[in-house]
Symmetry: none
Subunit: 141 residues, 4 copies
């Protein structure tokens, strides 16, 4: 039997809180999704003004980062025509996202979940995702 570590809801809220705080600082209302280590959604918030398309994109970024244990911007950099990874962006009906803004959440060396942000530029999305992770790590002490 395998023993798996997984984010709980209270920790998912901390991730969202940290990401939302950064989003407010830069003035971009975001969609923020947090999944467990298998890519299944734990919590989601669309800040007032967040984009409708981002509802799904944020979830797909979090899913990809958690379930593939890889940041979506790393997939993005490898997913260029002629590279053998190219085409991964259309897998799973497009549910795999290679747009920057999805990060795996690691605690104690294991991926325990994923966070995905959407509505800003990929750089803004990535910064908010990282802010969420930083906030979680601070809260875990």
């Amino acid at each position: 039997m395998l023993s798996i570590q997984r984010l709980e809801l209270a920790e998912a809220r901390v991730l969202i809180e940290g990401a939302a705080r950064h989003a407010r600082e830069i003035g971009v209302p975001m969609c923020i999704a947090v999944t467990d280590e298998s890519g299944n959604l734990i919590a989601f918030e669309r800040m007032d003004g967040g984009k409708v398309t981002s509802v799904t994109v944020a979830q797909d970024k979090a899913f990809t980062a958690a379930a593939a244990r890889k940041a979506t911007h790393e997939y993005n950099q490898a997913c260029t025509p002629g590279n053998l990874v190219f085409g991964i962006h259309t897998a799973l009906g497009g549910r795999i996202s290679v747009v920057g803004g999805g990060l795996p959440v690691e605690v104690g060396g294991a991926v325990v979940g994923g966070i995905g942000i959407s509505s800003g530029t990929p750089q803004q999305d990535m910064a908010c995702a990282q802010a969420g992770i930083d906030h979680l790590h601070r809260s875990l002490g």
Copy 2:
């Protein structure tokens, strides 16, 4: 020009809080989804122990209730073979849900969003959805 009344994130959180409180009282960890009046997700929480299948089902119930402005259990009662509504449950690739547990959220006579609950029996899901709405109405005074 139309002027649309729509739940804000703070109000979506109140809906979730009221639903989750009832879920704890009956001892059933739920997936709780809140959408805006167009059926697009505003907030979601999977309580620790909520079911994986309910992640999507709760969202589809909230979507249906808001976007069709009808409780999913009302669709359920009409969705019987021979009734002209029958078949609605497979529309939109099955995204329309006729399983009890999705309620439109009405404020001031207008549907401003939807709430969908999943992981318990339909009766338990419906009670949690109603508890969320009651909590919102109390908070609005």
Copy 3:
């Protein structure tokens, strides 16, 4: 942080072995799927002569049983027109299966995976799924 118990591959093979043995006894080549507790596939075998449609149906049964923590034949009995559960069979694009033959796999009181069988009658499928679970429990001592 939540700590989750999950079937490992060696245990999934034991489940398949037990189910396949019963399938040979009754002379029906089966498709046999085993998922983890979140519904994600761990192992699959189509016995020579198993049906093509059953490749997906077996996986969907295992997914449903694990992720909803409920036997698919229990959903089947509740999923009748007029019952508030009716419509669940078309959720998740039809990936939720209410056809008999999917069982949650419980060890130590927790659902650690699911097994789904398809190619025979639902009764035959259910018997093979149970045979797999019995074989696992014997192997765990």
Copy 4:
């Protein structure tokens, strides 16, 4: 009437065994899928630690390699903007995979199945797929 040569389950297991052995040698837990000549799944194993996204990607690679009778990395090299093959990666709802790691399985000059590997780099996936095929050819003498 056509007479079709098709992998049997025992041969699919040999393919998986050879691929898994190489995966252990390089220390990367893989998802390994084997389909028949029509692209329908015969057997699948997710090694402990294999990625959730790879459950589907491995199956899609095997499907593509068998059903299109072409290695997925060959599609990848042709699937560049401006080339008339470009766009094939989004066909069948993205089920066609152009990511390296899917190989047709040929015996006696005919494609009798496909093998698809996912969780490593495309190069690692390709090496495991080839190791599976080499193992099968050795076992067939």
